[in-house]
Amino acid sequence: MKKQEFMKKLSAHLKKMPKLDRDDILADFEEYFDAAQAENENEETLCERLGDPKKIAKEYYMQKYIEEANMQKSFKSMSRAFAASASLGIVNFFYVLCVVIVGYIVISALYIAICSIGLGAIAAFIAGIIFGGMYGPLALWLVLFGSVALLALSVLGFIGIMKLAKLFRKANMRFLNMTRKGIIRRKNYE
């Protein structure tokens, strides 16, 4: 077999691959021939050394399927772990239902509260500029300074809540992983 024939066969066997992947793979083999021929290897020996193009293509397909299966499996095991953690016992069921749901409600409420405070501060600032003059300069500065301080505090609060939400998510993940390990352990004992 010559290089051209080898490449043609390999390309034909890879036709179910996405085009980008196929081009990338074929380029690797082109480079193989180029580099080998720079060392005065002849095409026919090289094709023999490379082996059956059909077998090579199969390797690529197998790999692709395994990668896809792995991705599905981790997603599946994740949702399975969630469902399983709820059915494992009353404590877990309680945790999943109450803590997760209530936790998210509390975090949402905190977000809403802190946003209202921030918006209120902005409104107070604008109101201060428009009406503050009526009550003298001291009142004006008090309102402006107060509203800016309030706004700064609410921004800090917002960041704090974001951190809290992240922590909560992490705790959930950790619990989930613990449960999953627990399931595996249980299976081993059974």
Partner: protein, 105 residues
């Protein structure tokens, strides 16, 4: 040699060859087939997998003889994995030797 057996150790071979220096595809393949009898074409799917799993990175570099070549470089993750594989391999070999050598109790 048994093909399944070979496939398992091939990964360790590639990671080890890349441990000392970056290499381009043909160089890697030729180096491996010097000592292990294998269809050279099957090393390329392995290289692709190692790249997908972020054990190696690739970059293009000019060559004196023709078009630029794709070089393979070990990542930090690849380096750690190489260490783990090597330990596992040594343990496995030691274990097998105990059994086939007949020194097992």
């Amino acid at each position: 040699m048994n093909i399944q057996l070979k496939k398992g150790v091939l990964e360790l071979c590639v990671l080890s060859l890349l441990n000392s220096t970056d290499r381009y595809g043909y160089e890697l393949v030729a180096e491996i087939s010097k000592t292990i009898e294998i269809s050279e074409g099957t090393i390329y799917p392995l290289l692709r997998r190692l790249k997908n799993e972020k054990y190696v990175e690739t970059y293009l570099a000019e060559s004196s003889e023709g078009p630029p070549r794709k070089y393979y470089k070990l990542t930090e993750k690849g380096e750690q994995t190489r260490g783990i594989f090597l330990t596992e391999w040594n343990e496995l070999v030691a274990g097998i030797n105990t059994i086939v050598g007949g020194t097992a109790a």
